[in-house]
């Protein structure tokens, strides 16, 4: 049976479970949407964008819509189904100067999560099977809390640098996460390694794991490691270290550093290189549920042997809830500088609209 067919059967099986769920089980539906009104403040884009992009210096841009269904079948078993639609799902061929190669650029949903979550295997544990969240940057994303403004370092690495470090927020596989007392959290996962966008095309699986140590309330250090063979010869490895500081009321400070090595990443002279990155961010809740400020500094090293490829990115903004927490305004500025002195800096202003209900 073709892989796509197997996936379709899996989807129907899950939907069958969904349909036969007990009527009185706890079921929740939720939706989150965000989109921007963006301005290119510098319009320097002769290297960083096309002329057409440069000309289009202000625009509305839809970024994400999630529709989530969760069903708590029993106290130890639940499942989640998330539809996602983003601005690249159906318009990959679009650039600003040309028409799409498709009939239209309508936003169409795809499956992001489709999994069973069983919490009865070990005390305070969670066993997930299906299209599940990866361990790679979920904790960092939870600390950052502004996925609506910007993906975290590893998640958004490809968008900023163009280098694919094969980091996906969801993947088909199984994971076991849990806690050992107050001080230790652990996670282990085996997955296809292809993320939620592609079916598996080889026999090799991605193995990943993390360990979080919390020596004091609100102070965490996280270590993450992943390994995947790329083919019979080559492998890819990522390690990542995070630190979170939540010890002061309303304030979150965090840092994450990663290094990704793929044997297939080679310069023309056959030398290998790593891709690395560092992110430092802070969020301060000035008035809870009303007004927060946030700032972030990212340093991207897409090729460890070519320092001219390095990029710095600073993001800053605020999060304002004018009426109700289901509708938030998140104005933010992105400022890029490049190690390559021939590239001028770029600055963008986004007025991000965040809706959840």
């Amino acid at each position: 049976m073709e892989r796509k067919s197997i996936q379709r059967v899996a989807v129907f099986a899950f939907l069958a479970v969904l349909a036969s769920a007990n009527l009185f089980a706890q079921q929740t539906f939720s939706t989150t949407i965000y989109f921007d009104y963006s301005f290119n403040l510098t319009q320097n884009g002769y290297l960083t964008g096309t002329d057409a992009a440069k000309a289009l210096n202000n625009k509305f841009g839809f970024r994400r819509a999630y529709f989530r269904y969760e069903n708590k079948v029993s106290d130890t078993l639940k499942f989640r189904f998330t539809f996602d639609a983003d601005n690249t799902a159906n318009i990959t061929a679009v650039d600003f100067g040309k028409a799409s190669t498709k009939k239209d650029d309508k936003l169409r949903p795809f499956i992001k999560h489709l999994y069973l979550d069983y919490s009865g295997l070990l005390p305070t544990s969670s066993l997930k099977i299906g299209m599940i969240e990866t361990l790679t940057f979920k904790m960092a994303e939870d600390e950052w809390g502004y996925r609506s403004v910007a993906k975290t370092l590893v998640d958004g690495y490809k968008d900023v640098t163009g280098v694919d470090i094969r980091a996906s927020s969801a993947d088909l596989g199984a994971s076991l996460t849990g806690a050992i007392g107050k001080f230790v959290r652990y996670g282990a996962m085996v997955s296809s390694g292809e993320g939620y966008s592609h079916p598996e095309y080889n026999k090799f699986k991605k193995l990943s794991g993390n360990l979080r140590i919390i020596p004091a309330a609100g102070l965490s250090v996280v270590g993450y490691y992943e390994y995947e063979k790329q083919d019979d010869v080559n492998k890819a490895v990522m390690y990542k270290v995070d630190g979170y500081f939540d010890m002061v009321k309303g304030l979150t400070l965090a840092a994450e550093y990663f290094s990704y090595n793929n044997d297939k990443f080679m310069n023309a002279d056959k030398s290998h290189y790593d891709s690395r990155g560092l992110s430092i961010f802070g969020v301060y809740k000035i008035v809870v549920d009303k007004f927060n400020i946030f700032a972030r500094y990212d340093h991207y090293i897409p090729n460890s042997t070519k320092s001219l490829s390095n990029i710095n990115l600073v993001i800053a903004g605020f999060d304002w809830t004018p009426v109700h927490k289901s509708w938030r305004l998140q104005p933010n500025i992105w400022y890029y500088t490049y190690a390559d002195s021939t590239r001028k800096s770029d600055a963008y202003f986004n007025l991000t609209f965040f809706l959840s209900f």
Binding site: F24, Q26, Q43, N57, N58, D75, A179, D246, K285, V287
Partner: protein, 303 residues
């Protein structure tokens, strides 16, 4: 001089807005946010109203949603006090630790968790084991426990309810509820369901079953006596002495939890609740006042 483009102007406007709104938001009157247990919501709303009458400068908002909702809100910093009708789960303690929250519990009242049936049900008592078996779905007919030959109709709460968890831990021995149980949103809905259904059984806080005018159970309801086991005497949750002496086996403290040691307005409000004036209201509303052990715990947690 280089002309400012539209984007620059909008960016500047956005930052100006921030500067304008931040001071006004900071100057907002500080309102104590209380969130959590639906069993406690009526009681805490009345306590808050009475407290605000005596302290006109105080502002307190009380919301329900269940103990789990209150605990999440406390951890996320969206409330100042969590109302909880159960102990914190290990997973919640762990999450609080991650987020830098060290919870402190204050018992403000004691509840005799009441097992109720329709007033037409001739049954008068059950053992703890029988209640557990009924809610696990192992006993499906009233006849098996000395009642009429009718299929038992189960009414309960949703899993974010502290009462749901408390009964599961203390009576169902941590096993799952029957999937036949109707999961209601609140105590009032359970009461309405039991009143309308002759084969029903439900569980609610004692403050919800007492008719305040007569001191007896509300019309349409019967409150069952519960015994620890077959050999023990069965007691009513409306018997204060039985609750105080723990002869009534499913009594529980009702807590308010703060993020670390409470201070300022939050501390003053809780101090008042557990003091003589607050406890008088607790009793008036059908719950029970806190005893020596809980008072000691409160005193320790205020320090």
């Amino acid at each position: 001089m280089k002309k400012l483009n539209l984007g620059t102007l909008v960016a500047m406007a956005g930052l100006s807005l921030a500067l304008v709104f931040t001071p006004s938001l900071l100057a907002q009157k500080k309102m104590i946010q209380v969130k959590g247990s639906d069993t406690m919501i009526n009681l805490v709303q009345i306590l808050a109203e009475e407290y605000m009458l005596r302290n006109p400068k105080a502002a307190i908002a009380v919301l329900g949603g269940g103990s789990g909702t209150g605990i999440s809100a406390l951890i996320n910093g969206t409330c100042d006090i969590a109302d909880t009708s159960r102990e914190w789960k290990e997973s919640e303690v762990n999450l609080a630790w991650e987020k830098g929250v060290t919870p402190r519990n204050f018992a403000i009242a004691v509840d005799g968790l009441s097992i109720i049936v329709n007033e037409k049900n001739p049954l008068a008592k059950l053992t703890m084991d029988q209640v557990g078996s009924i809610y696990r779905g192992e006993i499906k007919n009233w006849k098996a426990v000395g009642g009429p030959d009718k299929a038992i109709s189960l009414y309960g709460r949703q899993s974010n309810s502290g009462t749901y968890v408390f009964l599961q831990e203390h009576v169902l021995k941590n096993k799952n509820y029957s999937t036949d149980m109707k999961e209601m949103n609140g105590n009032a809905q359970i009461i309405e369901g039991v009143k309308a259904d002759e084969a029903a059984i439900g569980y609610v806080g004692v403050g919800y079953v007492v008719d305040k005018a007569t001191g007896k159970p509300m019309a349409g309801l019967k409150v069952l006596n519960i015994s620890k086991d077959e050999k023990s005497e069965a007691f009513s949750p409306m018997d204060k002495q039985a609750v105080d002496t723990r002869n009534y086996p499913i009594a529980r403290p009702l807590y308010q939890t703060t993020k670390g040691k409470p201070s300022g307005d939050v501390a003053a409000f809780i101090q008042w609740e557990v003091g003589p004036e607050g406890q008088k209201i607790v009793e008036r509303e059908g719950f029970y006042t806190i005893g020596g052990a809980y008072k000691q715990m409160n005193d320790k947690n205020f320090k």
